[in-house]
């Protein structure tokens, strides 16, 4: 305990150097936590998916539709408890740059299957009652200032929906109760979109709720078998697999962001180790004096290593704190569209802190060892 005081005082030796080093570590931790946050954001959908939901799409690829007649066949499959469907609308809101997800859904069943979509009973009823109504996520509402009662006009993007603009009335603003649903989307009635579609009865994907998560693979297979050798073959997967494939779209993010995080840590390691080495070199006489006074070399080792840890942890706290405060997709205004919401979780912050401690430890190791192995007489002679 009394030694702790010594370590603190020693760190105050060169306030500027301590500050610069701590700041370097802070930056490293900040970047690390941010990168992890982005990565977690991309994986959040898969992570938050429900084990009792499976998704059916055309086997050719997601961009092809299935006829609505598939619904009854799927309902007949043993293990399927409930069913809903949705289409990607792909409309344009004022400017193609204003990109956000728009889904035409079978409203009543969709809200049943996704209890994560949180609406007040009034809003929910208002939406169900209004054929041209829509609900928007609270994140989307914040971005564009949507309020209940507002009109949203979308230009058609996908030719199948004709050429006339679609007008919707906001009937509710939903919160996302889990990461399987994001709060940057807009949902309206599939019936309404289908009425105006050039080709009717086209469905983008089905969402099924199954009775037993352990049987998901078997049920998926059973669904797909219903449509083998028909013109509209399907591929059914768990929601998790479906979400994971979206995350993989951007490329091997794990590798990319992981490598960058690695580079960040290594760079900071160099900086921190450098500082520790310099700091120790300037103190050889002092260390020799303490050894003369009778401080064992082991204690000297802990002093130096401890100082390194202290400065690093200081930086770690600063960096993690800043990351938690600043790094939030919504706050930075870049979420929406295909970039999922992200923010620094407590776990990321703690990992960042652990990293800073690790940096302090490794960076201090060599200088501390050298300091403890110093030959007293050599060090004393160096000055005179």
């Amino acid at each position: 305990m009394k030694f702790l005081a010594l370590i603190f005082k020693s760190a105050r030796r060169s306030k500027r150097r301590t500050a610069l080093t701590a700041l370097s570590v802070a930056i490293a931790v900040f970047l690390f936590a941010s990168l992890r946050a982005v990565l977690d954001g991309f994986n959040a959908g898969a992570a938050g998916s429900s084990s009792t939901r499976i998704i059916t799409i055309r086997s050719t690829s997601l961009i092809f539709a299935m006829p609505s007649s598939h619904a009854n066949a799927i309902r007949g499959v043993d293990g399927v408890r409930d069913l809903s469907w949705a289409n990607w609308f792909g409309g344009i809101y004022k400017d193609p740059q204003n990109f956000f997800a728009q889904f035409a859904v079978d409203a009543e069943s969709y809200l049943r299957l996704y209890p994560e979509i949180l609406l007040t009973p009034d809003e929910k009823q208002a939406f169900l009652d209004d054929r041209t109504g829509c609900v928007v996520g609270d994140g989307l509402a914040r971005t564009y200032g949507f309020k209940v009662g507002d009109r949203i006009v979308l230009q058609v993007g996908i030719p199948i929906y004709g050429t006339q603009d679609f007008t919707f009335t906001v009937r509710g603003i939903y919160r996302a109760g889990g990461t399987a649903v994001d709060n940057q989307s807009m949902m309206f009635h599939w019936k309404y979109a289908d009425e105006r579609a050039i080709e009717k009865g086209q469905i983008g994907w089905f969402v099924e709720e199954i009775d037993n998560p352990d049987r998901s693979a078997a049920i998926a297979l059973a669904i797909d078998e219903k449509f083998t050798n028909t013109p509209y073959e399907t591929k059914t997967n768990t929601e998790q697999q479906f979400m994971a494939s979206f995350a993989s779209m951007f490329g091997n993010l794990n590798l990319l962001l992981g490598s960058i995080a690695f580079a960040v840590v290594v760079t900071t390691l160099f900086v921190a180790a450098n500082t520790m080495a310099m700091s120790v070199r300037e103190r050889t006489t002092e260390i020799a004096v303490m050894r003369t006074l009778g401080f064992p070399s082991q204690t000297i080792f802990f002093f130096i290593a401890g100082e390194g840890m202290l400065i690093s942890l200081l930086g770690g706290v600063l960096g993690a704190g800043l990351a938690v405060l600043l790094v939030n997709g919504e706050r930075l205004g870049i979420t929406g569209g295909f970039v999922p919401a992200f923010g620094v979780s407590p776990r990321n912050a703690l990992t960042g802190l652990a990293i800073s401690a690790g940096i302090g430890l490794v960076a201090g190791l060599v200088p501390a060892t050298l300091a403890s192995r110093l030959k007293i007489v050599d060090a004393l002679r160096r000055v005179a």
């Binding site: 105050r12 004096v289 009778g294 070399s297 082991q298």
Partner: protein
Amino acid sequence: MLIELRDVTKMYKRDTLEVSVLDRVTMSVDEGQFLALMGPSGSGKSTLLNLLAGIDQPTSGSIRIAGAEIAGLSERQLAGWRAQHVGFIFQLYNLIPVLTAFENVELPLLLTSLSKKQRRDHVMTALDIVGLHDRSGHYPRQLSGGQEQRVAIARAIVTDPTLLLADEPTGDLDAKSGQDILTLLQRLNTEFRKTIIMVTHDPHAAERATRVLHLEKGTFVAA
């Protein structure tokens, strides 16, 4: 006899050349003596002091202090021995700049199991003896050379060590301050019965001691 050296030799290796700094030195010191070690530069006097302080090991020979043989002890054992038995005073004071005078003097006590209050008492007593009671909160940069050396002396005596070793204690001070330091050392010797061994090349400083030994090229010679 407090200190007994027998056939102590110290060799250094410079590349392939072996240089002998101390050549079979034998000497004994009684308790309560104030011994001055003199000699030209390169005579080995500082080396001898380092050996007595336990911060260096002889190549061969025996060093017995207060009944214990310290030649051949491990680094760890020596550290513990030093903490108990030695108070070292350097030419360049070597105070720790980030610590106050009080904290500098307290440093050796951190190796003991004394309580905070006990440590405080010892420190203030030591500072009283050297006459720096009211500067205990000052940092080394706020003190003059002479005052720094006095703090260093306080640090050396705070553990009440068996012997005090001083390496050119006045070498970096002006004449007046130097005189003050020597007077203090004398007082520690006569009033507090401390055994002091002082290395110096200044004959005036040596005059203050009760016994003088001359070293030349690693062996004792007549004055």
